[in-house]
Amino acid sequence: MRILAASDIHLGRRPSHGLSGQQSWDLVVDKACELGVDVLLLAGDVIEHERAWLSVYAPLIDGLKRLAEAKIRTIAVSGNHDFDVFSRLAVEGEAITILGQGGRWEHVDFQGVRFIGWSFSQSHHEQNPFDTFDRALSDGTLTLGLLHTEVGFPASRYAPSRTFDFTCSGVGLWVLGHIHRPQMVVDGQVLYCGSPLALDSSERGEHGVWLIETQSALAFEAPRFIPLSPIRYEEVAVDVTGLDEAEAVRAQIRANGRTGADGLCYGTTLYLTIRFVGTKGAALDLAQVMGQIDEAVPFPAKEGVACSILPSYIDATTPAIDLDSLAQGEGVDAQLARLIRDPVGLLELYRRLEKESFNASAYSALQERSIDEETALREATGAALRFLSAMALQREGGV
């Protein structure tokens, strides 16, 4: 049996650099038909807007019909985004089999393989689905589990589970949804499908679907990843040490972009987030450097691969200032250097301002979120270094 597995299609969500939110679904259906698989597995979050599922119902139904016409059986579990529409499809559609409706484990046998699954019945589920799992479901037959879950975060509101739950389940292979980065959680046994299409710049690396084949009805072969996404996001480090001119930095960016394109497929557009590293001179203005790079004009990284530089960037540089010796001296810059060298104080100040910012009327619409300590310290240090660079410029006669 040949099985194609996908999840987190988010039909109705337009990718940052895509044309429509239907593209991902169409790619999955096309690939299933092209490969002539027997079963298409959908591990949840097929659609984006759980309450407004109607807006993508027609393309969803059209895709399912195409699959049915190609004699491909579609088996799915609902995720936190599509519990509503999947419950409807389960009632109405003969073109799809939804497992685990109502928060109960369920199975279906098809061509000698047992598919078991559990579905979200509402947008959040804070209990571990394995609390109700019955190992007897997998006894004696080649079994494939389908689940939308967040592995390794017990406090998660999205059906939290543990690696242990899977390894002890007795199921031959688990196909999971929810995390958008495709990955093997337990090698050969548990995998996250990932989103077939990179939806925004945070979804780096390859994206696509997984092809699973059985070995004479007794076991599954190692799942094979099939890239689908014509867009790829990557982060590339650019060392600005010794680069004082903006044009030199831009040239370095392009050079690193071309290096990053090595190994990519033809027809891919590569979007790069630049992480500036190394020692940055006081006169070098990274914002000005990036302000001149036009994302809309990609440059050819290599034949068949266009490379675009995203305007947002990460400044992980260190200033060309000896903070330690500066902190030993007198003057305002020395004072500032001492403050920078106190990460605890700096972080505390930043955290306080973060909190204040969400209470500011201008940003009240934003959902309060907490960034990790490393990022927060980097942001805080970056700002303080900017201030220090402005002082240094005065010392150097730059102003």
């Binding site: 109705g12 969500r13 337009r14 429509s20 939110g21 984006e48 807007h49 309450r51 407004a52 599922w53 109607l54 807006s55 993508v56 119902y57 027609a58 393309p59 139904i61 409807r88 109405e92 947002s312 007198e330 003057g331 305002v332 810059d333 020395a334 004072q335 500032l336 403050l339 100040l349 930043y350 301002l353 973060e354 204040e356 910012s357 969400f358 500011a360 009327s361 201008a362 940003y363 009240s364 619409a365 934003l366 942001e379 805080a380 970056g382 700002a383 303080a384 900017r386 201030f387 660079s389 402005a390 002082m391 410029l393 005065q394 010392r395 102003v399």
Partner: protein
């Protein structure tokens, strides 16, 4: 070493408010304190500002021109300020420099002006900024804060990013709500489809019931119609809509046939009478071809006539032509020849005539060639043979001589050189005679062989004999018997040359012989031609007339052929004439016989034949017409019978046996009603026939009321079904629209973009706030910990002049004075004016000390009434401070208070110089305009002249000028009579302005003149001079190239502002920016130097004045005064 700079000399050249330099050149300055004393307005501050501006550029420098000499211990400088441009030059070298130690940024520190110190900018922000910078270790933390994007607070919700995010969030919510509201759409659709009834069945049933109802209705209608039809006359059934028209048509036709029959009968009779009138025999009438025959014969007769006449004419023409030929050419030939002979000979002659010229030309050409070759020499061959024999003998002689030489060689002498010599000679001769070279070479070879032979054969006796014999034979050419080989060789050369010459002659002789042969050949060919031509001529009987010399060149053949042609044509023409005559006789006979006419001339015959033919044709035509009319008459009779029959049958068909036309018409009037009922009934019956069996059966089984109720119920069911359909369609349309909509994803996408932008904004704000908080921390700490040197020094000064009461600090808002008594810090704004002066004085002194700490020079300091607002104690403190300062540098103190002078004099120990500026001003004025004592001289005006204009000449009245004050005009302009003017002048009232003061009448006239002057200035720009450019209001740079161009332009004759504007526009003056042009133009217009208005004429001015001055009548003295003034201005 004395580090001070000091002014030695100052000259204030131009300054606002002073039309002339007020002080002249001031010298004698003290190196210490200089007090500029004088009343307010005398120019103290102006002088101090000028001196300051000479040291460093200041904002007021533009309005001042000044010059000074400044000296230090080592150097002397000339300082010059002109039109805002400051130049500082080393006096010795003339090198332009920036005064060493000059600090423009903080030059205010050298000036202590009371008014400036008390103004809003008295606490110069530069000072506090500099102090702060020093406190922060040379770093302007504020600048760094701004540069690094610090934020004082988080932004409000009014920022664009927040608004946009909110707007797009709302849009997303609206779309989601709209979609969610329709989430039951599929259920609704499903329910509707399930409820959908059997619409098709309902429609079928509805149709069946409707049909049955209709059937029943039609049956009723058919019965009713049948009953109505039965009430009409049965004969109406035989009628139709055409019955009446058919009846009328039949009657009309019968009547028409009757008329036609009568007419045919009449025509037959008329034709018969006409035939009888023509009187042509029956046999001719019956002969249908006779007319054509007669006309053909007439034509034939006419043709024969024409042919005969043409033949006669042709014979005559041919005879004439033959006669002409014979007359012209009978002298050439004796008699005509036979045609075959003529053809052969003519051909021969033609051929021969073409050859003649070339043969004659050949004879002449060959003869000319022969003649050109000259005479011939028949002995040339013999002479050539003779020379060859001689040559052979010489060669032999040379050989023999050589052999003999060899013989002699045997005796010790060898003739080895002989062949060589021969070869050399041959080579030399070969340059002129190649044949000789060949001969020479041959001889040389022969000699060589001979020598060799002689070696083999030693018969020298025999050789001697042969040699003697040869010498004998050549004795004519050689001298004696002892001819040497050299002589022989020379002889051989001569003989060879002769042989070559004779060879050339022999070739020429060959050509002559060939030429003679060609002459003979040409002559022979020509003779043969003459013979052939004579033979041909004789065959043609050409006369051997001497006149025919050269007749062979005359082309006879065509002429002879023409002669033969003409002879033959005469014979043919005569034959044709005979034939034509015979044909004419025959045609005449035929015509006469066909018409049975008697003998007559041809013309009469033709005329009679034509008349006869016409009569026959007429008779034949009438006969044909008669036959046709007879036929018609018969046909008309047949038709009359037929129409009667038809009419009878028509009546019979209608059921009217008596053929009563009127009765038919009366009954027909009822027919339309009858026919309508009939048609209606037929229609109903047709409809009944179309009903189906099911409908008929249902109709037969029910009545109308039952069926109507049933139909109503069916239609209600159908309406409900249609409504369901419509709703279903509407829902499906909405479903199709909503279920594949990009609207939501696009809105979400755009909202997320805005959220990202807002998030980026928030992150930037957090960073900005972080920087701000860091800035606040650092600033607070630095201000707490650091006290710059400048503040310390200023504080020392303040402490000194306040007797330890105050010190200086730096607070959030700037400098503060710390009161050691109250232990409280005061802002500048909180201080009294006296304390404020002390504070600011101290700050400046603190800066001065810091600024000059590392320098070699100390610039002069200027004080301008700084003690004026201070009480005695403070004044004294300041005076003491000035005393201390003047010990180290040159100080200028300006004051109008004598007590301040005294205070300073009391405390200053250094040399003091007090400048009484009022006295200086007065002295300067006197120096400029020294008083000149003059004796009073009374000059009486000239005696009145009755002619007022002439009186002006007596008085020396000047012409009026438009741009001079009207009040300065001579009194002549306001008076009208000489005696009146004399009276004014005697009173000393020489100017119109004086007259106006003296008398209201002249005041009124002066006002009129002023008004006239204003109007006259309209459109007439004021002359512009270079001096006008010094106007302070003119916003123009004086130190640029174009300013000099403007000065040069104005110096070049009288110019107006309009001229200057034109010069700027046409770029005569270059380099002026548009903004400067505009400013200059505005200044010119404002000053009256330029105008865009049109000039007013005298009439315009007087008219306008008359509007405002009712007394200004034409006959008034005022009118005369104004008109005279305008005329004097030259205005027309």
């Amino acid at each position: 070493m004395d580090r001070r700079y000091r002014f030695d000399r100052v000259h204030l050249i131009r300054s606002p408010g002073f039309p002339a330099p007020p002080f002249g050149i001031i010298t004698g300055f003290s190196p210490a304190l200089n007090i500029l004393y004088g009343p307010n307005g005398i120019g103290k501050s102006t002088l101090i500002r000028a001196m300051r501006s000479l040291l460093s550029p200041t904002p007021s420098a533009r309005t001042i021109d000044a010059e000074a000499t400044l000296t230090s211990a080592e150097e002397r400088y000339t300082l010059r300020l002109e039109y805002g441009h400051l130049s500082q030059v080393r006096a010795e070298s003339g090198e332009a420099v920036i005064l060493p130690g000059r600090g423009d940024e903080l030059s205010d520190a050298y000036f202590f002006g009371l008014h400036e110190l008390l103004s809003d900018v008295g606490d110069n922000p530069l000072f506090i900024a500099r102090v702060r910078s020093e406190m922060q270790g040379g770093i302007d933390i504020e600048e760094a804060r701004v540069r690094s994007g610090a934020l004082l607070k988080f932004p409000p919700s009014t920022i664009a990013e927040t608004k946009e995010e909110a707007s797009f969030a709302k849009r997303v919510d609206e779309i989601k709500a709209a979609i969610a509201k329709n989430s039951m759409l599929l259920d609704q659709l499903k329910a509707l489809k399930e409820r959908g009834g059997d619409e098709e069945g309902l429609r079928r049933e509805q149709q069946l019931v409707r049909g049955a109802l209709s059937y029943l209705q039609r049956v009723g209608e058919a019965v009713a119609l049948g009953e109505q039809i039965a009430t009409f006359d049965k004969r109406l059934a035989r009628m139709d809509s055409a019955t009446l028209s058919q009846l009328e048509a039949l009657h009309e036709r019968a009547d028409a046939i009757d008329v036609e029959h009568t007419e045919a009968h009449r025509r037959v009779r008329e034709t018969q009478k006409a035939i009888e009138a023509v009187r042509i025999e029956e046999v001719f009438v019956a002969d249908q071809s006779i007319g054509a025959d007669i006309l053909r014969l007439v034509d034939e007769l006419k043709s024969a006539q024409s042919a005969y006449q043409e033949a006669v004419q042709a014979a005559s023409d041919a005879t004439s032509a033959l006669g002409v030929w014979q007359q012209e050419l009978s002298w050439i030939v004796a008699s005509p020849v036979e045609r075959p002979t003529l053809q052969a000979m003519v051909q021969t002659l033609s051929s021969l005539s073409g050859q003649c010229e070339s043969l004659r030309a050949r004879v002449v050409a060959t003869q000319m060639v022969r003649k050109a070759l000259g005479s011939s020499d028949p002995n040339i061959g013999e002479r050539l043979s003779h020379e060859q024999v001689r040559k052979d003998r010489v060669v032999r002689l040379i050989a023999v001589t050589g052999r003999l030489g060899q013989e002699q060689e045997k005796r010790g002498s060898v003739l080895w050189w002989l062949p060589l010599l021969l070869f050399a000679l041959s080579a030399l001769v070969a340059q002129k005679l190649p044949q000789a070279a060949i001969v020479g070479s041959a001889v040389a070879i022969a000699v060589t062989l001979l020598l060799r032979w002689q070696k083999r054969d030693g018969h020298s006796g025999e050789l001697e004999r042969e040699r003697a014999q040869l010498l004998h034979l050549l004795s004519e050419d050689l001298d004696g018997s002892s001819a040497r080989v050299e002589e022989l060789v020379r002889l051989l050369e001569r003989i060879s040359a002769k042989i070559a010459e004779l060879e050339a002659e022999r070739v020429h002789q060959g050509r002559i012989e060939a030429s003679e042969q060609e002459v003979a050949d040409a002559q022979e060919a020509y003779n043969r031609w003459l013979e052939a031509y004579g033979e041909a001529s004789r065959a043609l009987h050409l006369l051997p007339s001497p006149l025919l010399d050269g007749a062979q060149f005359f082309n006879f053949s065509d002429r002879l052929a023409s002669w033969i042609d003409r002879s033959e044509k005469v014979a043919i023409a005569q034959a044709r004439q005979e034939i034509a005559h015979s044909a004419l006789i025959e045609a005449r006979r035929h015509l006469r016989e066909r018409c049975a006419l008697t003998e007559s001339s041809d013309d009469a015959l033709i005329n009679d034949a034509r008349l006869f033919s016409q009569s026959i044709a007429e008779a034949q035509s009438l006969s044909a017409a008669l036959q046709e009319r007879m036929v018609r008459l018969e046909r008309a009779e047949e038709e009359r019978v037929q129409s009667r029959s038809e009419l009878d049958r028509f009546y019979a068909n209608l059921g009217f046996e008596d053929c009563d036309r009127e009765a038919v018409k009366r009954l027909y009037r009822q027919w339309s009603g009858y026919a309508a009922l009939t048609r209606e009934k037929e229609s109903v019956e047709r409809e009944l026939a179309r009903f189906g069996e099911e409908e008929i059966a249902l109709g037969a089984a029910s009545d109308e009321a039952v069926l109507a109720v049933r139909l109503e119920a069916i239609e209600a069911d159908l309406a409900a079904s249609l409504e369901r359909k419509r709703l279903e369609g509407s829902l499906e349309e909405r479903y199709a629209q909503l279920s594949n909509s990009r609207e939501l994803e696009q809105a979400v996408y755009e909202h997320q973009e805005r959220q990202r932008a807002l998030e980026a904004h928030r992150l930037a704000s957090v960073q900005g706030r972080l920087i701000q908080l860091l800035h606040d921390q650092i600033k607070e700490e630095s201000e707490r910990r650091y006290q710059p040197l400048v503040v310390q020094k200023a504080s020392d000064w303040l402490s000194a002049i306040t007797r330890g009461r105050y010190t200086i600090g730096v607070g959030q808002e700037g400098f503060t004075a710390y009161d050691t008594v109250t232990e409280r810090a005061y802002q500048i704004t909180e201080l009294s004016s006296g304390s404020r002066i002390q504070l600011l004085f101290s700050i400046r002194m603190g800066f001065l000390e810091v600024l000059e700490a590392g320098r070699d020079q100390q610039l002069p300091i200027f004080f301008d009434e700084v003690m004026a607002n201070s009480d005695d104690e403070r004044s004294l403190a300041i005076a003491e401070a000035i005393a201390a300062i003047s010990a180290k540098r040159q100080v200028f103190y300006a004051t109008a208070q004598l007590d301040e002078v005294d205070k300073l004099k009391a405390v200053v120990t250094e040399p003091i110089t007090v400048f009484d500026l009022e006295a200086i001003t007065q002295n300067t004025t006197i120096a400029r305009r020294p008083f000149v004592a003059v004796a009073a001289k009374v000059q009486l005006p000239a005696e009145p002249n009755p002619d007022y204009n002439a009186y002006s000449c007596d008085l020396g009245v000047e012409r009026a000028s438009l741009f001079e004050p009207v009040g300065a005009l001579h009194s002549w302009y306001v008076a009208t009579e000489s005696s009146e003017l004399y009276g004014l002048l005697m009173r000393g009232l020489r100017k119109t302005g004086q007259c106006a003061y003296a008398d209201s009448r002249y005041e009124a006239r002066l006002l009129l003149l002023k008004a006239a002057n204003r109007l006259a200035k309209v459109g007439r720009p004021r002359p512009l001079t270079v001096s006008d450019l010094s106007d302070e209001r003119l916003p123009i740079k004086r130190d640029v190239g174009y300013f000099q161009q403007i000065r040069d332009f104005l110096d070049d004759g009288e110019k107006s502002g309009n001229d200057l504007i034109k010069a700027l526009e046409d770029r005569t003056i270059k380099g002026v920016r548009e903004s400067m042009k505009e400013a200059l133009t505005a200044w010119l217009i404002e000053g009256g130097y330029a105008t865009h208005q049109s000039m007013l004429s005298t009439d315009d001015i007087l008219s306008r004045l008359a509007v405002d001055h009712p007394t200004l009548t034409i006959d008034s003295a005022e009118y005369q005064v104004v008109a005279r003034y305008l005329a004097s201005l030259g205005i027309e």
